[in-house]
Amino acid sequence: MLDIKTVEYIVFGIIGFLILFNVYLNFNKIKNDTVNVILKNWAYSKYFFITFIWGVLGGHFFLGTRTPIFGSNWWLPVVLVIILVAILVFIGKRLAKGFSIKRRYQLLLLIAGLLYGHFFWSQRHIPQVEFPWTITTTIP
């Protein structure tokens, strides 16, 4: 079991590593090898699920509604996002080799991801809300 401080060091360690690595890649002799360029090329070709994921993570980390639409099934939005990403990867894989996605669809993907993260995969849900479909009946 890892405590919160350790995970903090790991997470911000990885981010710090990526920044330093990117600075190195930017100033080395090889062109177009930075993390930014690689991710952009991926997001504009068949791996456009990256844009969607970025939106989902933004909504999940920073926004979030208080009403849990799925009740107490915290795992359901996680499974659903895996299915959605799998569908996007599947569509991407089937596209032609030189395929390049239009910029306006990137906006669509980002906003769709944000809305998903905000409404379905929120971290700010209040713990218990009774919906007609989540009420548990107790046998007297």
Partner: protein, 146 residues
């Protein structure tokens, strides 16, 4: 294209492949770590929890960079930039430093926390990041084929 140029092109592509594998490796590592953290007996130690806590403790720099990086990665420009790439990066990072130094959180908390849509302060800083990113930090047009 002579032989030497061709050789450099091939070695460049090999290098880019390596960087790609490093990125995929890091991503899979974080994913596996997060699954482990979500399923272990300790609560509140997942990557999501940590980033959320940091944001709520005034690290607006995270939401800002979320927006700026989104603009950088996903919204290429078709025209010439009006500042060159290095100046753009300096501006984006400079604003981030200002956000950190002036501790924007302390100026927003009282105004926002009592409001029903408390999260809007995060949305505002994300949008601010996107706008700054769109202005100063976009990449050139995506390659047509690769």
């Amino acid at each position: 294209m002579n032989v030497q140029e061709f050789k450099t092109l091939i070695s460049n592509e090999k290098f880019v492949k390596k960087v790609q594998y490093i990125l995929i490796g890091l991503f899979l590592f974080v994913l596996a770590l997060d699954v482990y953290l979500a399923l272990d007996r300790k609560d509140g130690n997942t990557v999501s929890n940590i980033i959320k806590d940091k944001t709520e403790n005034g690290w607006f720099i995270i939401t800002y960079f979320w927006g700026a990086v989104a603009a950088n990665l996903f919204f290429v420009r078709f025209n010439k930039p009006f500042v060159n790439g290095t100046v753009g990066s300096v501006i984006v990072i400079g604003i981030a430093l200002l956000i950190a130094i002036f501790n924007v959180k302390s100026h927003t908390t009282n105004f926002i926390t009592s409001h029903e849509y408390r999260f809007s302060v995060y949305f505002l800083s994300m949008t601010f990041g996107v706008i700054i990113g769109l202005l100063f930090w976009r990449q050139g047009e995506a390659p047509r084929s690769h």
